[in-house]
């Protein structure tokens, strides 16, 4: 085992898979010589060469489209979109082409592309470097949508994603690249060395796609969340003293319904938290799923805590971010409901 932060873990996942499979190639803006603006591909070009780690022009639609073509020709491309906020020019290629290629050709053609992209706020990124657009992708049939919350999962899930023959959009919450973040920006940063999931095997291993993780068992309330808020929710639960069961969804689509449903049926109360905007957000799907599966076990209305339905404002980041206070208030509301 080694100590890794999420960046190390993601880089290690690339390294392990590239060593194993010569068809794995990496492309994206600044990913080659420089190793990526967040350093997730640092050293890979030196190790695997310029034909396998390609610096790409600033054209997200082109990066994703070229990756699709490469995948059709037998390669296994990993495309980095520098910020999730920049992914929209490539959305047509994801929704209209990548997601449906297997379907429209009945399996005759497919392209096993993985798109990695840093998402989420809390880094003073304003509206163009803070978004969490995962709900746009979970709405597209045929896409596997993943968001890890720690280095161990990041490596294991990314290896599974790259090896999957289905296309995967892999969101990396950049606020927790360097350490778990409990939602309090005034506290000193905590490194991953303080967290058990900062221990990551150096060799090949996988974390299966499509399986949620019960981060902390509990009996009074189920908190369903993912990404950075997995850590914020734990801190918020401690703040309230409520014995919450905290579930890290990890793979948003296809969704592990039974883990969520079993938990809420057990606790009878449910709070859903994500950083993305609330209206039509992925939390709405989670709430509907819980309601369908657990209605007669519910003792209180399902509560959602999410980003406000505004763009992510630069100066009011901590009023916008669904931090401990908001999640704690949500927990109290669910617990107090009769």
């Amino acid at each position: 085992m080694a100590q890794m932060n999420m960046i190390d873990a993601i880089r290690s996942a690339h390294d392990v898979v590239m060593a194993k499979d010569p068809n794995v190639v990496v492309l994206g803006e600044d990913v080659g010589y420089f190793g990526g603006v967040f350093r997730c591909t640092d050293g890979l070009q030196r190790k695997y060469g310029e034909h396998r780690v390609l610096d790409a022009p600033i054209a997200e639609g082109g990066i994703i489209a070229a990756a699709i073509g490469m995948g059709v020709n037998g390669l296994r491309p990993v495309a980095e979109i520098q910020f999730a906020d920049y992914i929209y020019p490539g959305f047509d290629q994801v929704a209209s082409e990548l997601a449906r290629l297997r379907y429209r050709t009945c399996g005759d053609y497919f392209s096993p592309v993985t798109i990695r992209t840093p998402c989420g706020g809390g880094i003073r990124g304003g509206q163009t470097h803070s978004q969490s657009p995962e709900g746009i992708f979970t709405h597209v049939s045929g896409i596997t949508t993943v968001m890890p919350s720690n280095p161990y999962d990041a490596k294991g899930l990314l290896i599974s994603a790259i090896e999957s023959d289905d296309p995967v959009v892999f969101f990396e919450p950049k606020r927790i690249y360097n350490g778990p973040f409990d939602g309090d920006p005034n506290k000193p940063a905590v490194p991953w060395t303080t967290h058990p999931k900062g221990e990551v095997p150096e060799d090949y291993f996988t974390v299966p796609l499509g399986i949620a993780d019960i981060v902390k068992p509990g009996s009074e309330l189920t908190i369903i969340t993912y990404g950075t808020l997995v850590h914020v929710a734990q801190a918020a639960a401690r703040l309230t003293g409520v014995d919450a069961e905290i579930i890290d969804v990890r793979t948003l689509a296809p969704l592990d319904v039974s883990t969520l449903a079993d938990s809420v049926c057990k606790t009878g109360r449910c709070l859903i938290a994500h950083e993305a905007t609330r209206f039509s957000g992925f939390g709405a799907e989670l709430a509907a799923t819980v309601q369908e599966n657990c209605f007669y076990s519910l003792e209180a209305p399902i509560e959602r805590v999410a980003g406000w339905d505004t763009p992510y404002p630069h100066a009011f980041e901590w009023q916008y971010f669904p931090g401990q206070k908001r999640i704690a208030a949500g927990i109290r509301k669910v617990m107090e409901a009769q």
Partner: protein, 411 residues
Amino acid sequence: MTNRSRLHIPQPSARPGDEPDFSYLNLSPAGSVERPAADARTREIEHLSVELIRVLDDDHRAQGSWNPALEPAALQVALRWLLLTRAYDERMWQIQRQGRISFYMQSTGEEAVSIGQAMALRPGDMCFPSYRNQGLYLYRGSKLVDMMCQCLSNTGDMCKGRQMPIMYHNRDANIFSISGNLATQYPHAVGWAMASAIKGEDHISASWVGDGSTAEADFHHALTFAAIYQAPVILNVVNNQWAISTFQGFAGGERRPFAARGLGLGIPGIRVDGNDLLAVYAATTWAAERARRGGGPTLIEHVTYRGGAHSTSDDPTKYRPKDEWLEFPLGDPLERLKNHLIGEGHWSEEEHESVQAEMRDKVQVAWKEAQKQGTMTEGPYLDPATMFDDVFVETPQHLEMQRQQMLDLES
């Protein structure tokens, strides 16, 4: 110049009721453009994007250094493919008009692009077609019956009823799947070609878009990536003058030819008479050789004319002169190749009529065969339960549940 800005609204040279006017087309005499070496520097051959490469002259004789000097037998075969493509289109159009398929798109008038290029490519080369490349499918081995079954969405449909008519694919023939979203396949071809080079193979790829779709971002992504990495790809713009109701000026074709779009990136552009199968073949052979020898991409503009409606849902008499095609100075690609072969003494009106009839029969036989696998009104029918397959490699739980819900309601 005036002392204020004003918008320019492009206007076609003729509207319904007007005399067709193709004076805007810059036409070079056949044989007047020299064929450079395949490794010529782009800056030395920029004129190829403005002039028009033509081999067949007005008397149907092959002229100049672009003459590929194909054997008469090869040209007879080419003519047969052109005739088959047209016979297929004519019959499928009628079939749609009879309400027996939901939709169809003809390639009438631009068949030489698909057939000429298919002849110039190798079987291992990958094609990323647009929706007017049916000749490409036929030439590379797609069976008429299979294509008809696709249009019928019947039990023989390669797409299992998941795609509109004409959106074929053929993995065995190395032809990609047609998308209704225009130009999306263009950068795929570049990515495919990049992979070919990464793997050290000498296969190249080719893709096609219409003049209208050159306005899409995907077109520009494709050119940019192809230029940067010098991908072995042939990027074709089939300039058939019309994108549904908007003429090629609405894609920016008024001031510079589409072939010149790549010059700013150092991609050579070739403007070719798209209705001259010999010229199309020659230009493609040149570009393929260049790509295979590490010379990178070529952009080929095929100047042609959309002889039919955009699709069965379109009525071109509402926006262009009815007889415009008849006045198109580059004529009809079938007639031109036929007249060339007759002029050379390798074909006759009788042979032509006989082959035409043979192709129509082939199409008719195939149509009868295709209908046995189901029509819109008579079985056998596709199993609707299959609609949940192939969304993912393994069907996830929620889709299995939805399949069951659908089946419960249907039973």
